[in-house]
C-alpha cells in the first residue's frame, strides 16, 4: 500500500532508522549520565557508550577512533575545520581554496575569514559540476594552507575527484578538508585512501538523529590540529568543549554501523530506482539532467523541466516532497547558486527539481513519482506562455523581457 505524501527529499534529511531509535532510547532515561563524570557508574556507562559509538563512526570512514571529534552537525564541523585550521596555521600562510558550489556553511565561513585577513580563492566548476584539476593546481600558492572541496554535492549529487584533489593539496604543502555530509554512509569513503586530513559529516543524512555530527581530524601523517571554536571543559581533546550529546552520539554510531553493513546493497538498489525515475522523466520533451551523470551519488538526480517554474511545479506534484532550485523556494528570490555556477541560465535553474531517494524509498513510490511528475509538468506547460511560444517556434531570446 502506498501512503502519501511520499518523501523524495533525502538530501535535506533522512528519516531515522527504527533500529537507531531503539539503540538511543535507554540513554535518555536510565543511562542518562554525563560522559565526563569520571567518578561514578552513571558517567562510566555513558562514557563507554560514547567510546563504542566513536569506534562505529571511525570504522565507517576507515579512521581511528581518536580522530573523531563529535559536534552538533555538519555546519559546526565545517566551521570548526576551516576556522580552526586558519587560526592554527595562519602563521604559515593565509590562503584557502574552495569551490563556488560548496555548501553555505563552507562559503560563509570562508567569507568570515576573509574579514579576518584570509585570502580565499573560490574556484569555478565546469559545466558538469566537477572541478578542473589543472585550474586547482594553478590556484595553489606557497601561502595556501587549506583546500576545501565537498565530497558529493547536495543539490546535484556530483562526486568530486577527491583522491586527485588531496594529492594536489599535499604536493603544495596544504591540508585537505572535505565536507562529506552527503557522501558518508551512501558511498564508500576512506580517509586514508582518499588522503583526507579533515572531514565533516552528520547523523541525520544517514538515517541517524539530528543535532549530532563529527569532524574527522587526522592524527598521523600529518598530525593535524584545529583551534577550538567552543571553549569550556576541554572535551573532545580540547577541540570542542561541551557536554557530549550521549543519546545522539549513540544513535549516530548505530547509524554508521548500519550504513557500513547495508550501504552497498542500498546504493545498488537506489541507483537502479534513480535511473528508472530519471530515464522515465527524460522522456518528457525539453528536460535535462543537471551535473555529471557518471560521477554521482547513487540516490540523487536533479532535472530541469524547461518552460515550467520549479515552485509551481512542486505545488502540482501533489503528495510528493521534493526540492527545487527555483528562486521562489527561498526568501532571496535568487535561483540556486549551485546550478548557476554550472553555467545554467536563470530560467533553467528556476525550472529544476531535485529528487533524493533513500533507504526507505520503494519502487511503488518511484512509479508514483514518475506518473505524478509527468502529469504535473504537462499540466503546467498547458498554463505556460513560454511553452506555447516554444511550440510556435518563437525564439524566447529574441523577446525583450521586462526584467523586474
Amino acid at each position: 500500500m502506498l501512503t502519501t505524501p511520499i518523501y523524495l527529499d533525502n538530501n535535506a534529511t533522512t528519516p531515522m532508522d527504527p533500529r537507531v531509535l531503539e539503540a538511543m532510547l535507554p540513554y535518555f532515561t536510565q543511562k542518562f549520565g554525563n560522559a565526563a563524570s569520571r567518578n561514578h557508574p552513571f558517567g562510566w556507562v555513558a562514557e563507554e557508550a560514547v567510546d563504542y559509538a566513536r569506534e562505529q563512526v571511525a570504522k565507517l570512514i576507515g579512521a581511528s577512533e581518536k580522530e573523531i571529534i563529535f559536534t552538533s552537525g555538519a555546519t559546526e564541523s565545517d566551521n570548526l575545520a576551516i576556522k580552526g585550521v586558519y587560526e592554527m596555521y595562519k602563521d604559515k600562510g593565509n590562503h584557502i581554496i574552495t569551490l563556488t558550489t560548496e555548501h553555505k556553511a563552507v562559503l560563509d565561513t570562508c567569507k568570515h575569514l576573509e574579514k579576518l585577513g584570509a585570502q580565499v580563492t573560490y574556484l569555478e566548476v565546469e559545466s558538469d559540476g566537477l572541478v578542473d584539476l589543472q585550474k586547482l593546481e594553478a590556484a595553489m600558492t606557497p601561502q595556501t594552507i587549506l583546500v576545501s572541496v565537498m565530497y558529493g554535492n547536495n543539490e546535484i549529487g556530483v562526486i568530486q575527484p577527491i583522491k586527485e584533489i588531496s594529492a594536489i593539496a599535499h604536493k603544495h604543502g596544504a591540508l585537505f578538508f572535505s565536507d562529506a555530509t552527503q557522501a558518508v554512509g551512501k558511498i564508500p569513503v576512506n580517509v586514508n585512501e582518499d588522503g583526507i586530513d579533515l572531514m565533516a559529516f552528520t547523523g541525520h543524512k544517514m538515517y541517524g538523529p539530528k543535532g549530532v555530527g563529527a569532524l574527522y581530524v587526522r592524527r598521523k601523517n600529518p598530525r593535524v590540529k584545529v583551534t577550538s571554536q567552543m571553549d569550556g571543559g576541554g572535551h573532545e581533546r580540547g577541540m570542542r568543549s561541551g557536554t557530549l550529546n550521549v543519546p545522539g552520539i549513540v544513535g549516530f554510531g548505530k547509524a554508521c554501523e548500519l550504513c557500513q553493513l547495508e550501504m552497498e546493497q542500498d546504493a545498488k538498489r537506489l541507483s537502479a530506482l534513480r535511473d528508472k525515475l530519471e530515464n522515465s522523466l527524460l522522456e518528457l520533451e525539453e528536460s535535462y539532467v543537471n551535473g555529471n551523470k557518471a560521477n554521482r551519488l547513487p540516490h540523487t538526480t536533479n532535472i530541469s523541466f524547461k518552460y515550467v517554474e520549479g515552485e509551481g511545479l512542486m505545488m502540482a506534484m501533489k503528495d510528493m516532497a521534493v526540492s527545487s532550485g527555483s528562486a521562489c523556494t527561498s526568501a532571496s528570490l535568487e535561483p540556486s547558486y549551485v546550478l548557476k555556477n554550472l553555467g545554467l541560465s536563470d530560467d533553467l535553474a528556476h525550472s529544476s527539481i531535485r529528487f533524493g531517494l533513500g533507504r526507505f524509498t520503494t519502487e511503488e513510490e518511484v512509479d508514483f513519482a514518475i506518473e505524478n511528475t509527468k502529469k504535473a509538468v504537462n499540466h503546467l506547460r498547458e498554463l505556460s506562455p513560454l511553452w506555447e511560444m516554444f511550440k510556435e517556434g518563437i525564439d524566447l531570446d529574441s523577446i525583450e523581457w521586462a526584467e523586474h
Binding site: G312, M315, A316, S326, L333, P335, P385, I399, W401, H404
Partner: protein, 137 residues
Amino acid sequence: MAYSDKVIDHYSNPRNVGTLDKSKKNVGTGLVGAPECGDVMRLQIEVDENNIITDAKFKTFGCGSAIASSSLATEWLKGKSIDDAITIDNMDIVEELALPPVKIHCSVLAEDAIKSAINDYRVKNGLPALELEKSHH
C-alpha cells in the same frame, strides 16, 4: 509556508486559461515578467464597442501564487469597463488571496499585466496610452 485555500483553489482549478487572437483589433495583450526572474504572465482581454471587457484569458509561467494571481485577475476583469479595470490594485489581489510578503511581487506582476493589456487595447484603438506609475519592484 503553507498556501492559502484561495491560492490552492485558483492554482488547482485555474479560471480562463487560454489564448485570444492577438491580431484582432479588440484584443489587448499584456506580456510581463521575464523567464530569468522565474515568472512571466500573459494576460489578454477582449473588449466590446462599449469598452466593456467581455472575455479575459491568461497563461503564466511561475509559482503557485503567480498562477493564482493571474487567474483571479481574469475573473475580476470580465464584465468591467476598461476604465474600471485599470483601477485594480495589486493590494486587492494580495488581500483576496492572503499572499504572504514574499509573494507580493506576484500580485504586482498581475497588476502590471492588466495595465499592459489595457494599454495595448487602447493604442490599437486610437486611444492614448495611459501613463502608468512605475511598478513597485
